[in-house]
């Protein structure tokens, strides 16, 4: 009898446990609310050097200068943040100031009526708007209205390489796709992985497709997908790009075990600066952490950088680039009037002030403020910053990263299929078929 009672109880516990587990997963965590007190605004942003420290410094300076209006900052790790901020917004617990990437994610907040329209505010405060790069407002604009303040730095994706590795095999950085494919066996023979890649993070793989699509077929190919044209992925240029990337995987172009490498831990950068990989296609934001964590790799002049080379016979302009045209700050519609005032004051007086501009420049970032070019020459990394600035400003088309431009629903499907493509578990044609099904979602 005793045994029976025992097992029934454990069964009930299990049933309850299953239910509760599901329920908890469904609820998610709400995180700190915005508090009842009206005179304190909240601000969530990302962790990670060097940006986290700069963001925190800006908030601290603002708090010091404004004793009556305070901002309480909280920092979250990159991949977790995307989910966290969304859950918080859905639960009505969003911070006053919401840090984001603009584009499709911002649009979904706008569609839900969760962030404030800042068009009028920018019209009244033209000085705030006019000092920023006009190109940075594209991803902040939804249906012709501005819903976010662009901030921080412009971050194109570029091809980093290790000069030591090229010296070792006596080769020059590749000037075309053909040269890339020719370099692969030579680096492999020398025991150096041709390219570092954090494949588990998926958006890292996506950067390769972004460039191949552009270089082969021009920016129109992805634009058609973005516009929701039926069958847009079936473009022959898309198929060509997908095939080329699988060719590179098959030729062992990426570091062994790239599918287990995660970008959040900066393991892909470590592969480059420890000399295990020769090249890495990555955002310019990695420069700061490579300089900080890579010993004398950056300071010793071993890091090379260039725009992605053209593909033979491709239609895309070789000056085109993709990446983040800026980062974005939105104001939660659920915040109190007082909190919103603090946020706007923060936008107009603290965001990208001279100190912050200097801090970004020192860590290898180009702030989206006009006229920062003149400060580049006196910064710690003039050569890299000039390169970033020219890549960004001379690009014929500066496309936003696909996963940020698309809606979160479409982006998830995209990343999922890209991961499978790099796994070689689906063919380019299967990729095209899968993605055509969800076009326009």
């Amino acid at each position: 009898m005793a045994q029976r009672a025992m097992s029934r109880r454990s069964f009930l516990n299990l049933a309850a446990g299953t239910g509760a587990g599901v329920a908890l997963a469904a609820c998610g965590s709400s995180g700190p609310g915005q508090g009842e007190g009206g005179s304190e605004a909240t601000y969530w942003y990302l962790t990670g050097a060097p940006g986290e420290q700069i963001r925190t410094n800006t908030v601290n300076r603002f708090n010091k200068a404004n004793s009556d209006s305070q901002i309480k900052p909280t920092a979250f790790e990159n991949d977790a943040y995307k989910t966290k901020i969304r859950t918080a917004i859905g639960a009505g617990q969003a911070p006053t100031i919401i840090w984001g990437w603009g584009g499709g994610g911002l649009k979904s907040w706008v569609d839900a009526g969760q962030v404030d329209d800042l068009t009028d505010w920018f019209a009244q405060n033209a000085a705030v708007k006019d000092r920023l790069f006009p190109s940075s407002f594209g991803a902040a604009t939804v249906n012709g209205k501005i819903y976010a303040m662009p901030c921080e730095t412009v971050e194109p994706i570029v091809l980093f390489y290790d000069k030591r590795a090229f010296d070792k095999i006596k080769a020059e950085p590749p000037q075309s796709w053909g040269e890339i494919m020719a370099l692969v066996p030579r680096f492999n023979a020398a025991g150096i992985a041709p390219f570092s890649l954090a494949g588990q993070s998926r958006w890292t793989n996506m950067m390769w497709l972004e460039f191949l699509f552009d270089r082969i077929g021009g920016p129109e190919v992805f634009q058609a997908v973005f516009d929701g044209e039926k069958g847009a992925w079936s473009n022959p240029a898309a198929l060509d790009a997908l095939t080329k990337v699988q060719d590179l995987v098959k030729a062992n172009g990426f570091v062994k075990g790239f599918s287990s490498v995660v970008a959040d831990a900066n393991a892909d950068q470590a592969l480059l600066y420890t000399g295990k990989a020769a090249m890495m296609l990555h955002g310019t934001w990695t420069y700061g952490s490579m300089a900080e964590e890579g010993g004398d790799f950056v300071s010793g002049g071993n890091l090379g950088f260039m725009n992605f080379p053209p593909v033979e016979g491709g239609k895309g302009d070789p000056s085109n680039t993709v990446g983040n045209p800026g980062q974005y700050l939105s104001i939660s519609s659920k915040a109190t009037a007082e909190q919103k005032e603090i946020a706007k004051k923060f936008f107009s007086t603290a965001v990208l002030d001279d100190t912050e501009i200097g801090e970004w420049l020192d860590t290898g970032g180009v702030p989206i403020v006009k006229g920062s070019e003149s400060k580049i020459s006196s910064s710690k990394a003039p050569e890299f910053l000039t390169f970033v600035n020219e890549t960004a400003s001379k690009a014929k088309v500066f496309a936003q990263s696909w996963d940020q431009a698309l809606s979160p629903t479409a982006a998830e499907k995209l990343l999922d299929n890209i991961a499978k493509l790099f796994q070689l578990s689906i063919t380019p044609q299967q990729y095209v078929d899968n993605m055509n099904q969800v076009i326009g979602q």
């Binding site: 009898m1 045994q3 029976r4 025992m6 097992s7 454990s10 069964f11 009930l12 299990l14 049933a15 309850a16 446990g17 299953t18 239910g19 509760a20 587990g21 599901v22 329920a23 908890l24 997963a25 469904a26 609820c27 998610g28 995307k82 989910t83 969304r86 859950t87 917004i89 859905g90 979904s108 907040w109 569609d111 839900a112 009526g113 969760q114 494949g199 588990q200 570091v255 062994k256 075990g257 790239f258 599918s259 287990s260 490498v261 995660v262 393991a267 470590a270 592969l271 295990k276 979160p408 629903t409 998830e412 499907k413 999922d416 991961a419 499978k420 796994q423 578990s425």
Partner: protein, 308 residues
Amino acid sequence: MTGLAPPAVRVRPATGSTGGRSGSIGWMALPALTIFVAFGVVPLAGVLLLSFTRWDGIGAIHPAGLDSWRTVLTDPGLPHALWVTFLVMALSWAFQTPMSLLMGVFLAGRQRYREILAIVYVVPLLLSSAALAITYKALLDPNFGLGAGLGFSFLAQDWLGRGTLALGVVVFVVSWQFIPFHALIYQGGVRQIPVALYEAAQIDGAGRLRQFFSITLPQLKYTIITSSTLMVVGSLTFFDLIFVLTEGGPGDATRVLALDMYKRGFQANLMGPASAIAVILVLVGLALALLLRRLGGRDASASQQEGM
């Protein structure tokens, strides 16, 4: 057997207020019931309702009839996720049960060194799944992990980058974490087996192996069922460990049902289909638990020690 003791008499629990000092004790179930309703039944009902809607997590909730169910049930991702879930369940059960059974039997001995070992064995149970996953991930890293560090090329596999290997790693880490727990259950079970049975077997000339298969195993029947129920139903809710270790990857090789639910709900913002999967998860869990109860035999109340 001996015929000296009177046969066991079944005592019917007293109904009503007879015999008790203060009448019904039904109220004692109230706290547990409240918690169960608040955190089990209510959210479940909410999830069921959500599965008939279209919701992106932050906007308005639109009723959508059977749309979500149609999406989920026609998606090839569902049978795949079910299959992966089943594989993780079956493989980790097949690996854990014999291991923990043997370990439990071993730990049931009263020798001092075994008591000390018992404490050592329980350590994995004290670690959080997330920490475990991060540690294993670092150890298995093909470029900076154990294999590369120690120079053993066979350890420097692409552990988490190949479908079958990644599944194997998941099963191994899950088992590594939970074997001590089930070993403890078996240890308790073994210690309850009357020594007289073994003494009788020894007199009859049964060896150790024979004793194990003829006494220990049959006597542990209900312990095995309890432990298996915990393993099987518990494996349905594996999430944290797999999420941190592989994020369901590579591709979707380790995307179990719980992970599929999370990805749809919180990464693709499709709360309707995610809720439908949650409902499926609950149904599968309940069905499995009931099935395992049934496997325990029709007359679960029958004593195994009758006549002792």
